[in-house]
Amino acid sequence: MNFTWLPWLALFGALLPGPLRRLRIDPALVAGAVATLGLGLLIRTTPEVVVLGQTLKSSVPWVPSLGLAISLRLDGLGFLMCGLILGIGLLVVLYARYYLKPEEATGRFYGPLLAFMGAMLGIALSENLLLLVVFWELTSISSFLLISFWQFSTDARRGARMALTVTGLGGLALLAGVIWIGQIVGSYELTQVIEHADVLKAHPHYPAVLCLVLLGAFTKSAQFPFHFWLPHAMAAPTPVSAYLHSATMVKAGVFLLARCYPFLAGTELWFYLVTITGMLTLLIGSFLALFQNDLKGLLAYSTVSHLGLITLLFGLDTDLAPKAALLHLLNHAVFKASLFMAAGIIDHETGTRDLRRLSGLFKPMPVTATLAIVAAASMAGIPLLNGFLSKEMFFTETLDADDIFGRSWILPVGATLASVLSVAYSVRFVRQAFFGPPATGLEKTPHEPPRWLRVPVELLVLLCIAIGVAPALLVGDLIHAAASACVQGELPPYTIALWHGFNTPLVMSIVALIGGILVYARRERLFRGVEARLSVSQGRRAFEGIVAALVGSSQRLERALRLDQVTTHLRGLLACAVLVSAWLLLPALARVSPTNTSGDLVLWVLCGVALFALAGVLLKSERPLTAIVYSSIVGLAVTLTFAYLSAPDLALTQLLVELVAILLLLAAVPHFGLPPRDKRSSPVRALDGALALGVGGAVTIGCWLMLSTDVASISRYFLEKSVPLGQGNNVVNVILVDFRGFDTFGEVTVLAIASLGILALFDHLAQRQAPSDLRPRTPLFLQSVTKLLLNLALLTAVFLFLRGHNAPGGGFIAGLTAAVGLVFVYQARNPTGAPARRPASMSRWLAAGVLLAALPGVAAMLFGRAFLTAGHVHLPLPLVGEVHLSTVLVFDLGVFVVVVATVLAILPTLGRLPLGKPTAEEER
């Protein structure tokens, strides 16, 4: 069990909480165990990774042809991220256990939570960029599940949808960028990409690649202009907000910047793009946070601004900037998670998160209040706390960084302004929530939360203070290892210390403190007009506007092209078919010398009969019964052609398919309403006629070409190899079941899925009232013979099945014969048990069939052979002589079961449905 197990431990651990809960094992316990196990694994690697700064790697090939391998890498950066994910994850699991109501804290919460943890670990540890994208998408999906945990609330659903759309689009851009990198560098492995860093940077496509990757990062880390989804994700339960939307998920984007730093950063474009986006997000986030009335909204915008700060740091081209960024990444995760949890406690105890209604909570919940105040102080960057350290480094970096647009003062001033605002909203949070007169009109009288709900917050705040007081001791090596892993090079020595002497950064932070308090005090006068307009976030309105526009225009397009009618689609389809075949076949036609194509008389007669019957079907289409009779004649003619050309296997199959087709048609016919009058205008009919002629012509030319050119067909190969390899001289069946076994397996699965769909459809319809009109009884005459004929049909089915490999037969044909026998029984109603048991049992048979078909395939893999390789064994039995058994038999049995189950699933239910279209009130 080494570090490579981490992502899989959590991902597959996600499957445990649900089922285990039935065994009365508390899902929180399971999640907690998984997290602690993960932490244990991580801490075991501390000596090599953190102290010595080594990088542990492991790689397992997954899809070599795509260059995708499960290769993982644990370096300082990965260690830091995993530490955050697992550490805060454990605390969140504990917190959620007491925050959520018992019936809510189930597998449905902890499953996705663990899946998310696994996915995040995957991102932190993945060496292969493609693998990183896979985990990236997994986080989006699990976050979607977690945000929409409270399905009943529309906000949760809307927030989840918006988060998924934005992060999903970002993921798409990232995938494009990663693939482009892979093409340029030739491999997706991080080590190779880092080696070819200069090749990548000098490449003409570098700007496009950079934008794509940054798009992925910025959407995930809610940078401006993609920041609007984060506040709406606050509809999620607080443990989720504390975990995903403050400590881990939103950090994935910034982590990606750290990972790509060695091979993407360092260029002018990176500096401008990342720094400016960071600066904008920092300012806008903190500005908007000042006006949020919902506690979590304020924290959400504060997260946005802090993420902007980290992105800004990654953008700066000074050597220590990444180190400062990683330090702030750690600090922010710690104090923001504790703030979210504190907010959760307030919400849990008072029933509301609205700052305007909250006040004077210090007296009823003193401990929580002090914890929240310390965390908020750390957020504001008060000395002796971890927030102050990273803010100090942030100020020093902005001072050392070179100028933007030729002016060196923009960065420092911007930084100070942002921290003024952050101080302001921290003070606002503390002042309005905890001080002032005691709150009135709250649903619940505020009091201290249950003991365990506060423990995670205590731990985190303790951590804030500890890091604040002795940074070098606790996190010095970790941050150094992470930063060197990020920069992939040497770092100038810099001890994170509390006191760096009286220098400009200290002045800036003092200015920020005082300014913040002043801004908060004068808040109303300074931003009087602003508050009203800011009430609704423009981001959401813009997003929803775009979506509504898209949907509206597509509906208009559909009405315009009358896409709602099937015929339109059909016409389009056929037209394309004709055009493509014309483009392909006509040139080929010119090249081919006409060979003699005089089929003998019998074939022409049979072909004539078939065409005649087809005409009958078309002309009599308004009288379904006659049409069915004509269609069966077509089938008969084709069968006789096969017989004449001595292809017994095909003839048998054609006949049986014809048989079942008739039965299906008959079962469906009563449900056809009167065929609508043909309302097509004459030009449209002409178009349809032309289309029909075109398709017919194309098919004829195609067949004729195929017949007259002696293309080296593969049939010779099958004919020779059928006996030696497939050990069966019925080539058709050997091909079906052995050589092309995989195609048949696919078809069988598709067949099963289709009939499951039909079953589901019918179950819904069949529930409507059953018809009451009585039917004349089945003739006695019929019933007594039915049993005999059924047994005969089943006997033939077994016979055809067993000899399938060497003579016409096989699973499919046998299945049809058996099905026809069973349906025959259904014709003559039997008074005792209904042969077609409830359709639901058919779905079990379908599943059994597919499994049976898959069994030999998987068994072959156990012997190290490819999927579906056939195994043969010759048993010399005493009495009987040599019996030739083969795994193909089981595969064929699977096919048999699926075919029978399909027919029995459809026919009886179709027959049982009440006649006529569901009337209006039934439809509702």
Binding site: L625, P648, L652, E658, L663, R775, T796, P808, Y826, G911
Partner: protein
């Protein structure tokens, strides 16, 4: 000798099929068409038997068996459909005696 008889037989059977087709096209009621179809199926079974004898292809014989099965089930279904206006039997009808 046999081939000549075979061709004559095939010709007669082809003519028989033509008669059935004629009745099928003209048949005033759909019952007539079903009758014509049944006869046609039986004629084609006969054709296959003749073909088997003349060409000596033994494995064609299963075809005759399955064609007669086709004739039976299709005619039965069609006839029952015409009689009861519904495919197959309707389990909702009262559970009378067998």
């Amino acid at each position: 000798m046999l081939t000549i008889a075979g061709t004559i037989a095939a010709a007669c059977l082809a003519l028989a099929c033509a008669c059935c087709l004629w009745r099928l096209v003209r048949g005033p009621t759909s019952l007539d068409r079903v009758l014509a179809l049944d006869t046609l199926v039986m004629n084609s079974a006969a054709l296959v038997v003749v073909f088997t004898i003349v060409h000596g292809r033994e494995e064609m014989f299963e075809l005759v068996f399955v064609i007669s099965l086709l004739g039976l089930v299709s005619t039965l279904s069609l006839a029952r459909f015409i009689e009861t206006g519904r495919f197959g039997s309707d389990p909702f009808e009262e559970e009378g005696d067998g």
